[in-house]
Symmetry: C2
Subunit: 273 residues, 2 copies
């Protein structure tokens, strides 16, 4: 591939990490925050550094066709939706993509080595696991309360939400938790409670946050699924992440935001039979 | 990260590429096929090599909790859904992940270099573009005809499909085509009609297939959007890919399957006001 005309961005090792995300909810930004928190690496976070109005404006300006290009600069393609990460001159978006970039830098995933090398295969396997969890436990979870349109409120699509949620809780949630269980039980998971390679990676932090969100949104269903014993490895991993010293401190801090109008919402009526 | 107990898979340069995907529709497998076809690199394809029943059985066995582990072998984590790619001992899934692996091998994307290097940034930018197109023009497109449950037929969720499609065509489709237009018009796209870096990459093949699918599914809406002139760069890219000699040959061949019961479906009633 030929080089683009513009100078490629370089992320300096000394540059600060800046997370740009909506305020007042954990949302997709949380999957990024957990890496910094586990690694004990400083980062700025629009949701923490600015008041909610200013943080929201910053996100809106970033994704706006008018102002977005100036904000990302000439060496990055436009960003359609948050979260975004700024690191030096680099601005990237899409949660699994941000994690792919950060994980090796924070010791939470293999380096992206030569494309024929061993490390690359581990990185691709981890990316595969995270993309699958993201499909089922983030994107599909979001659509339980927004099955018709993101431009409508939940209240404007309640009958459709009720139908979609019933199928989600009966079919999809067990399917994706069962997938996570299979990954943990596979030979590739190695020793310990983790998904892959015998030590904690960003995929484990990702699954932790998915399970935590599901426990908040659908507590009765999750209690039944836990009691079934079929997902023991998943809940064991969840508990193990929760007890990591840095994660424990983070969850008790005011940096950990309460669930609100994000992906994981608790509408008790959606869980009723 | 420590090494897993099991031997890591190695993909041999001499090993054949094997695509495992549902027969009788282009589906998500098409995003993989287009790379091989453009590059002129041989591959096997369950949808082509086997009769439909045998091809479907092969996919079902791969994703089954009972037989899947044996099929992927001890050095790969389980696969939840097709497409999957086998290359030597390696088996990977998730469309954007398969493309990330294949693109540098087929000359359709930068090598995944050192994580601080320039090439990695280009790979991450391309991955970001593909993940965004995948969200809006594949996953959300699929849900226009399946807004309630994948376990139900379209006919069982027609009223919900009608509502979701209206919002999709009015709000989401223009949003994502507008995003593609902005990417092509950004400085990072370089010379020529392409999305990134001044030459054809796998992201361009991805966008081509999205637009082709949308043209099939919603011809009236796409005609209006084309006529608006707001997405000229997108349609120019679409036309440019379609005229690539290898792609042109492929589209005229019987390897290119007709649209059917996949992501892109043409239900005329969904497009009516």
């Amino acid at each position: 591939m030929s080089e683009p005309d513009t100078k490629r961005p370089r992320s300096s090792a000394d540059a600060p990490y800046e997370l740009i995300y909506w305020p007042t909810l954990p949302g997709r930004g949380e999957f990024v925050r957990l890496l910094f928190e586990e690694a004990g690496v400083p980062y700025t976070d629009t949701a923490q550094e600015l008041d909610p109005g200013a943080a929201a404006s910053k996100v809106i300006d970033l994704v706006s066709p008018e102002s977005g290009a100036d904000i990302v600069g000439p060496s990055n393609p436009p960003v359609l939706a948050p979260p975004a990460l700024r690191h030096g001159d680099l601005v990237i978006s899409q949660t699994p993509n941000i994690l792919l970039y950060l994980a090796p830098k924070l010791g939470l995933g293999p380096r992206l080595g030569d494309s024929d090398g061993d490390d690359n295969i581990a990185a691709l396997h981890l990316n595969q696991i995270v993309l699958t969890l993201n499909d089922g436990l983030v994107a599909e979870m979001h659509d339980t309360h927004h099955p018709t349109a993101v431009s409508l409120t939940y209240e404007q699509q309640k009958p459709e939400a009720k139908k979609r949620t019933r199928h989600y809780l009966d079919e999809r949630l067990p399917k994706f938790l069962g997938y996570a269980q299979r990954v943990i039980n596979a030979k590739t998971s190695g020793e310990g409670p983790w998904l892959y390679g015998g030590s904690l990676t960003y995929a484990d932090l990702f699954l932790f946050q998915c399970v935590d969100g599901c426990l908040f949104a659908f507590p009765k269903t999750m209690a039944k699924l836990r009691e079934s014993g079929e997902y023991d490895a998943v809940f064991k991993l969840y508990d193990a992440v929760k007890e990591r010293p840095n994660i424990k401190k983070y969850l008790a801090s005011d940096r950990r935001q309460a669930y609100g109008q994000g992906i994981y919402r608790h509408y008790p009526e959606l869980e009723e039979e």
